[in-house]
């Protein structure tokens, strides 16, 4: 490995840490390699003498990251006292029904959101159908010699066409957003449960 490769890997490995500290370390190691080369080592040997870049990175990261506060793993595992356990069992009819009601409310709100989206799509569909209906009317009216009513119908068809195009983009956008938000909500909920499993 060349000096430049070593220093670049070091810099990349330390990205995210305070820049001034990283620069100082990179120049420190650069100086170390230069001094070895000056003593007669080849560049490869000088870099090898420093040690594996991964080791240097992990050691530096450990030194530059402030020590973590004591994590729950050290805290004794919480076991519920007996009276709390009894209270939970006795209170089951109360807390379970409340929990179920809360879940039902959230679910119904979610259904309402989708109902609104579906009605918007229906509006969009009716506008699109209206375009063709108006266009058909234009043909019929003009064929029977009614020029002005036909013109009015043409105007209506154009208006509906514009409306349906705008509505289409709005519908697609809102539907996509809702799907993405749903995914995020489900994932974060899932992650919370998985984390609890792991911490057990």
């Amino acid at each position: 490995m060349t000096k430049q490769e070593f220093l670049t890997q070091l810099q990349n490995g330390l990205s995210g840490l305070p820049q001034s500290g990283v620069d100082e370390r990179v120049s420190f190691y650069g100086e170390m390699i230069d001094d070895r080369v000056e003593e007669g080592m080849s560049e490869e040997e000088a870099v090898a003498g420093i040690g594996a870049v991964d080791d240097v990175i992990s050691q530096t990261v450990a030194e530059m990251t402030p020590a973590k506060p004591i994590e729950p793993s050290v805290i004794p595992r919480r076991t519920l006292p007996l009276w709390q356990l009894i209270l939970i069992i006795l209170g089951f009819p109360l807390w379970f029904s409340l929990l179920a009601a809360a879940a039902a409310v959230i679910l119904s709100l979610y259904v309402v959101i989708w109902a609104l989206i579906i009605s918007l799509w229906a509006f969009e569909l009716s506008a699109a159908v209206g375009v063709f209906a108006c266009a058909a009317c234009v043909v019929i009216l003009w064929a029977s010699g009614k020029l002005l009513p036909g013109l009015a119908m043409l105007g209506a068809a154009l208006f509906l066409a514009g409306l349906s195009i705008l509505l289409f983009f709005a519908c697609v956008g809102i539907s996509k957003e809702t799907v993405i938000l749903t995914k995020k909500a489900v994932l974060s909920l899932g992650r919370r449960f998985i984390r609890r499993e792991n911490s057990k």
Partner: protein, 105 residues
């Protein structure tokens, strides 16, 4: 050597390596090599700690067309070495106590 024990010794060793004249990173490692193993990253941490503790100062000087950092011991650094010498007597007596325990077995 035990890491905790070694850490305390390394600071003194680095100070001793720059006691008589200013020195630079690689030379400190070379000078200490016969006595105590010292990696670059450990040296960096020790130099930083000694600098922030006011036991040494750093200056950058040009050498052979590039920059090199030289470390200079301060009064406080010299005092730290003297303190260590005083503590050493205590350490020797502890060592002798440990040896004596060994002989009993």
């Amino acid at each position: 050597m035990d890491i905790q024990l070694k850490r305390g010794f390394l600071e003194i060793c680095v100070l001793a390596a720059i006691k008589n004249e200013d020195s630079y990173g690689y030379r400190i490692i070379k000078d200490l090599k016969p006595y105590i193993e010292l990696s670059e990253s450990t040296l960096y941490t020790i130099l930083k700690r000694l600098e922030s503790g006011g036991l040494l100062t750093v200056r950058t000087a040009e050498h052979d067309g590039r920059l090199r950092k030289y470390y200079h011991i301060t009064e406080a650094g010299l005092r730290r070495i003297e303190d260590f010498k005083a503590e050493w007597k205590e350490l020797i007596s502890i060592y002798q106590f440990v040896i004596k325990e060994d002989h009993h077995d």
